[in-house]
């Protein structure tokens, strides 16, 4: 399983764009990159997934450079409700149900 490294914490003011970068130098050819969001006192929830280039949904955008050794989760115009822990995971969707490793995540604090 590819190991991921992401910042422990980040602070941002409301209305700003937040970019959280995750390093995964040992990513394998078949690995996908997935991000989860966890609010206080709740279980994590899936927010976005990608393989290469850019993926966008109603919650966030995911930028993946050509070498795929890192990825950046972008949250546009954050609000106080985006305060959460964000986890970057790397794994092979086609390897059956091989469990993933969540790690410690990045704690984002949005300030008014």
């Amino acid at each position: 399983l590819a190991k991921t490294t992401q910042p422990i914490s980040m602070d941002s003011y409301e209305g700003q764009e937040v970019n959280i970068t995750c390093s995964h130098n040992n990513i394998a050819t078949n690995d996908y990159i997935t991000w989860y969001q966890q609010f206080p006192s709740q279980g994590p929830r899936f927010i976005i997934q990608g393989y290469k280039t850019k993926v966008t949904n109603e919650v966030a955008s995911l930028f993946i450079p050509a070498d795929r050794k890192s990825s950046t989760l972008s949250l546009p115009r954050v609000s106080l409700s985006d305060t959460a822990v964000y986890y970057c995971l790397v794994g092979d969707l086609n390897s059956g149900n091989t469990p993933l490793v969540f790690g410690k995540g990045t704690r984002l604090s949005v300030i008014a």
Partner: protein, 114 residues
């Protein structure tokens, strides 16, 4: 649609007691997982099950056991609880089409072992 339910919501338990945390999903997902979450340590996988009748060990399996008699239920048992098992426990599930990357989590069980 309930998704994943966990019971109890919270529990205070004396050390040495046996405890089973319940997890039920109604999505017919083939895979289920148990995690514990401790402050500063993130989510750590305890046990998992890829399909009914099979189970596997995660990162921190010691002191815990699981069973998967059917698709919907995945109970986690602490045979003899110790204070270091004080934690928040999350159950999750995923289906074979989306893969293990797309997991759906329950609301968690907060367990305190005294």
């Amino acid at each position: 649609i309930a998704g994943i339910t966990q019971a109890p919501t919270s529990q205070i338990l004396a050390a040495g007691r046996r405890m089973t945390l319940r997890c039920t999903q109604d999505m017919r997902h083939n895979a289920m997982y148990w995690y514990r979450q401790d402050l500063g340590l993130g989510l750590r996988l305890i046990h998992y099950s890829n399909t009914a009748g099979t189970t596997g060990k995660g990162e921190v399996p010691d002191g815990y056991s699981v069973s998967r008699a059917n698709t919907d239920d995945f109970p986690l048992t602490l045979a003899s609880a110790v204070p270091s098992q004080t934690s928040v426990y999350f159950c999750a599930s995923s289906d074979e089409f989306s893969g293990p990357d797309t997991q759906y989590f329950g609301p968690g069980t907060r367990l305190t072992v005294l």
